[in-house]
Symmetry: C2
């Protein structure tokens, strides 16, 4: 079973938008166990579109077309496909009703073009567009490749692909055995080192495949097991995960596609009922903004301080001028004083502090990327650690925030007073 994705849109060819639709569909095909050896992009031109449909149908069992289902004169994908298949376009009544209802509720005139959005090739199964007007279609052909028609706007495409198309693809071509996946998330270890540490496991993988994926500032591993039952898959996934955790478990902070280091840390703080604040210099509020992105954080986060200037470090979190004068503003002593001062001001259980050189210029003779992070944790002695990050100003700040989150994650893990 082999499929090709054709994205239709001149704006992709001009570099005005990035073709994220093909990424999303490709990932879905991989999950369904459908091979994909080619992707194509073509503009809103019926002759060239017909050419690439011809080529793709020759070398694949399924051709997926995304884009060109809209109401403008440039949208010609389904007309071109219907011509290729030699079938007429017919109306999806539910989609047509939705379009006429929408125009009835506005004062805009409905044009003939708008009706085009409710058409699909005769013989296909229409696919509902829950985020728009243009209907999709799944056409199974006895004597040529099958075709899947999807809209171009990513909001419409992703929802239709995930909820309408994927189940139909699975029913039509699905494996007998289903694929079960588990995603492990790592911070503090690069992709190449992770792969090196796990090389024997990756080379010897059989029942469970291990796919590493480098993301911004972290790496994930997707473990996939093909099995007849969920329980059988779980046994295999557990066995492989145990081998991975034995090697690199220290860096594994959590599970799942929709997870993040900040979500894991904030949820742990909420569970443990421990409050947090921060005093930020080089990060200028980015740490607090990052934990602020997690819903529910207000239960443990009263607020905090951005102490960019030395005077603000003194005024807002009581760093003594003598500390800055003697140790320097980018120093262990200043980081510790900032964390202590913030924790004391807002009477929280924990506090982080960030002082360093974001760049591009050096500061106090220290190069860009030099950072001290302080951690005041419950009744433990406040500590600070030195880091040397590479990259531009924004990269240094992002890595600083992630390193602070990881410091707190490790302190929470090591805290024997907390329930596991």
């Amino acid at each position: 079973m082999q499929a090709e994705i054709i994205a239709v849109g001149t704006e992709i060819l001009l570099g005005q938008i990035t073709n994220t639709n093909s990424t999303h569909i490709a990932r879905g095909l991989a999950e369904l166990g459908i091979d994909s050896y080619y992707q194509t992009v073509v503009g809103d031109n019926p002759h060239r579109l017909a050419d690439v449909i011809e080529i793709a149908a020759r070398r694949n069992d399924l051709v997926i077309l995304a884009g060109g289902l809209g109401p403008t004169k440039d949208d010609l994908t389904k007309q071109t496909l219907a011509h290729y298949l030699n079938v007429p376009l017919v109306t999806d009544e539910a989609a047509m009703q939705k379009i006429t209802d929408w125009f009835a509720n506005t004062d805009k005139p409905m044009t003939a073009n708008n009706r085009l959005q409710a058409l699909y090739p005769q013989g296909a199964t229409p696919l509902t567009n829950h985020n728009g007007m243009a209907v999709g279609a799944f056409y199974q052909s006895p004597d040529s490749a099958d075709f899947l028609l999807l809209p171009g706007p990513p909001r419409e495409m992703t929802l239709m692909f995930d909820t309408e198309a994927k189940p139909k693809l699975q029913a039509a071509y699905g494996q007998q055995a289903q694929i079960y996946s588990r995603v492990l998330r790592f911070f503090g270890i690069g992709e190449s080192r992770l792969v090196t540490e796990l090389q024997a496991l990756i080379d010897g993988q059989q029942a469970v495949t291990i796919a590493p994926y480098a993301k911004t500032n972290e790496v994930t591993l997707r473990l996939s097991a093909q099995a007849a039952t969920k329980a059988a898959a779980k046994t295999e996934l557990d066995r492989t995960e145990a081998e991975i955790q034995a090697r690199v478990g220290e860096y594994c902070y959590g599970y799942g596609d929709d997870n993040s280091l900040e979500a894991v840390v904030v949820h742990r703080l909420i569970e443990a009922n421990l409050s947090i604040t921060a005093a930020e210099s080089l990060t200028a509020g980015e740490f607090q903004s990052t934990i602020g992105s997690v819903p529910g954080v207000s239960a443990v986060f009263p607020g905090g301080f951005v102490t960019y200037a030395n005077a603000a470090k003194h005024q807002l979190v009581n760093v003594a001028q003598a500390t800055i004068d003697q140790a320097g503003v980018v120093s262990e002593a200043t980081a510790i004083a900032m964390a202590d001062g913030a924790k004391h001001q807002l009477a929280t259980d924990t506090a982080l502090s960030f002082t360093g050189v974001a760049g591009p210029e050096a500061l106090e003779g220290q190069p860009a990327g030099t950072v001290w992070i302080g951690l005041a944790y419950r009744d433990q002695p406040t500590v600070a650690y030195e880091y040397h990050f590479s990259g531009d100003r924004q990269k240094v700040r992002e890595r600083t925030v992630m390193a602070g989150l990881d410091l707190l994650r490790r302190a929470l893990l090591a805290d024997t007073r907390l329930a596991k």
Copy 2:
């Protein structure tokens, strides 16, 4: 002149990475005036790669291959191309020197595969890789399509394409008249409304083309004029820009590809020598973090406050409990008190405040997306404005930060005491 981009990499076909390389190259081709009607993605498989090279060479004058130049056994792009062209691979001595120097400076053994990275098809011009080891190549053929070979990692590819390849493409195929561009940046007006307002100009465009481009929370317009001299282009661009500014100038905040609303506002504050602070509730530090991303901001930004909990609003920026009790925490009165309090605490010239409902839950009976932004500006009466943003928690916070920046931009523009 017509070119096709072929991205080589199984990880794109599996949906593990998004094909941003093709976007970057496509934009570059558009700037050079080279047409592009197709893009292709193929995996690290020499037979299928040979097939797509064959198809692309038949339908184009130039084929650009990105990816597969590295040292692993999967990297076969240049071997496959050399086979197609029926030429041997030869060594770029400068690249080979760089590779041997690198291995001499580490304790890692250099393998035969590493030498592969210095090879290019005989007869081509090698292209230096300033961010990596693998050399690129530009091959001009008298009797088939020309070929451009680029590495796959985006850091290596973009730098090589921009600095090494583009000038050679321009020399080989460039227009007689050069294209001069100017980018205008807009905030507070959507792409569709911007296009509607400028429809007559866009429909009637002749000497200057107008290309709108929707980005996150803003829209840019790229004006391009083809002319024999820079001065002639400037005259045309000035004329078109004046027409645009007359219609939508209120929303135009700046110029250039590498610009942002925060950079414009921070630079204006530095010029005017006006200091700034903030008290942030729903944005939790994101406004301060955003201005903190602009190099040089320390001259005008001493620091500020994240006042997430009501107690922190009182303790850190002196919002009276009675204000919160009577008006509510998401209110004009609270926003004004927060801005005033922050400005007073750090004795700055200006202060912004942010209070609202980031979501997903409602607060005090107000729906997610309800936001008040306060502005304390020099000796003017402090004001606050209400907004209703749509989207998820992160979207609401981002839009809040941008709206705050725009509020300050407009106050600075209207300030008659400042030099223009």
